[in-house]
């Protein structure tokens, strides 16, 4: 048989399928966006509508809520495939478990997290974010959110066979989100106070790179374990 393996088309087929699933009936993308919008708009009621107060907490609120929105859509990342048996087929694809989790994470990021980052400026308006911080807000979300999907993928893979694993997944991964959150919010805060956001941004990128390496390996190992 031929040794050439058409990995790229296989990879892209899975990415396309998952993006399509996320946006079709019963998919999680719309829910995450809706949650992001509604949850951010609760804060002015909670802390009072004073513009300075809102502006002060805006970066943190937007980041935390975006993070939660990404997480609530992650708990089904592998579970749906596990339940209907297609995870077996995925794992037997020649691109291998690491390729599979990379494709699933990329699809989740494209379908759910990227729209969150693009919606973030609108949330900035609701939270009275100062003008100079918008660019950094979007950029920090673009750089930081892949780490959320990658780390979340580990949690989702570890709890794939657990009934009601969603809450357990949160317990496992939320602590690991701390560095991303610190550096992401740090960058936006810096931009808001007109200091240089670059150091924060560099650390944020480093966190994402570490998450890339650790996350894919750990997800693949956890998925193999789940099918045993």
């Amino acid at each position: 048989m031929s040794a050439e393996v058409k990995s790229i088309p296989m990879f892209m087929a899975l990415v396309r399928r998952d993006v399509k699933l996320a946006w079709s009936q019963g998919g999680g993308a719309m829910l995450a966006l809706g949650f992001f919008f509604v949850a951010v708009s609760l804060f002015p009621f909670g802390v009072g509508p004073a513009p300075q107060v809102l502006a002060r907490i805006a970066p943190g609120v937007i980041w935390v809520v975006a993070l939660l929105a990404a997480v609530i859509s992650l708990d089904r990342l592998y579970q749906a495939d596990y339940e209907d048996g297609s995870l077996d087929d995925l794992m037997l694809s020649p691109i291998g478990p690491i390729g599979i989790s990379a494709a699933k994470v990329l699809a989740h990021w494209l379908s759910t997290t990227l729209p969150l980052a693009l919606l973030a400026p609108a949330m900035g308006v609701l939270m009275n974010l100062p003008d100079q911080a918008y660019g950094t807000l979007i950029l920090s979300l673009l750089v930081g959110t892949p780490a959320l999907s990658l780390i979340g993928s580990v949690g989702a893979a570890l709890t794939v066979a657990v009934r009601r694993g969603g809450v357990l997944m949160l317990l496992l991964i939320l602590p690991l989100y701390v560095p991303t959150l610190i550096f992401g919010v740090g960058a936006v805060d810096a931009a808001m106070s007109l200091t240089d956001p670059l150091p924060h941004m560099a650390l944020l990128a480093a966190t994402t790179l570490i998450a890339l390496v650790v996350g894919l390996f750990a997800s693949a190992a956890a998925l193999k374990l789940a099918l045993e």
């Binding site: 580990v154 066979a161 657990v162 357990l168 496992l172 602590p175 956890a222 374990l225 045993e228």
Partner: protein, 244 residues
């Protein structure tokens, strides 16, 4: 395949070590507490409250040490599929969680008179809190998956992912200038702490190590017996009727 460290042999080894470890624990703890509270000077800045250090610092060391034990056990369990390694991780986790909680609580009690607040969200405190969450997550995952071996290996993967946090804890005081003081014992250029304080500190650290050894070995024996019981129960369940 795993004959080189079978449970029976482990039990014999543990029984041989346990009395010595228990004795060492009692002696070291007694001596350490005596020096810490009666025979070491108060700090010229911190006064008497410096004595919290003798409880706090070794607890923090042990919190990280135990995590590394758990991580090594997890690695062994995943790579060589050694059943004892799974049990070792499981035995270590609650001990580590208790050390971490102890470090956090004594740190808070020390922080109040020194910094004027129980808690600050600085790099060291936050990363140690994350360590506590990792211990809890590890135990929760063990608990959540029905099949024991799978549960253990899933938890092991989590433990290995969490190793990233250990260097963050260690270097957080150097990377971020915070309220928490930088290392004064584990330094490349030698300790900067005075000998009269270093001695009780090391005694206490030794006592904690001995404590870890005692509880860890006890818990391992317990886990092995629990496994044996489960196996025996399965044997009796599946034994063919009428066969002796």
């Amino acid at each position: 395949m795993h004959r080189f460290a079978n449970p029976a042999q482990f039990n014999r080894l543990a029984d041989a070590i346990l009395p010595w470890a228990t004795g060492a624990f009692v002696l070291l703890l007694g001596a350490g507490l005596y020096y810490a509270f009666f025979d070491s000077p108060p700090d010229y800045q911190q006064g008497e409250s410096v004595r919290v250090m003798y409880i706090h610092v070794p607890a923090a060391w042990m919190a990280m040490f135990t995590y590394m034990v758990m991580a090594v056990a997890s690695f062994t369990a995943l790579v060589w599929r050694h059943p004892l390694a799974l049990l070792a991780g499981r035995a270590a986790a609650p001990i580590g969680a208790v050390f971490t909680a102890l470090a956090l609580i004594t740190g808070m009690l020390w922080g109040k008179p020194m910094w004027g607040t129980y808690w600050v969200w600085d790099g060291r405190l936050t990363s140690v809190l994350v360590l506590l969450f990792l211990y809890l997550g590890y135990m929760a995952l063990w608990q959540a998956i029905d099949e024991e071996e799978k549960a253990g290996r899933a938890a092991s993967i989590l433990a290995l992912v969490g190793v990233v946090n250990i260097p963050i804890i260690k270097f957080s005081v150097d990377w971020w200038s915070t309220l928490h003081q930088p290392a004064s014992v584990m330094r490349l250029d030698g300790p900067t702490i005075d000998g009269s304080m270093l001695m009780p500190l090391l005694l206490m650290a030794g006592a904690y190590q001995a404590y870890f050894a005692v509880v860890f070995l006890w818990r391992m024996k317990l886990e092995i017996n629990r496994r044996k019981l489960a196996v025996a129960r399965q044997v009796s369940m599946h034994a063919p009727v009428g066969a002796e």
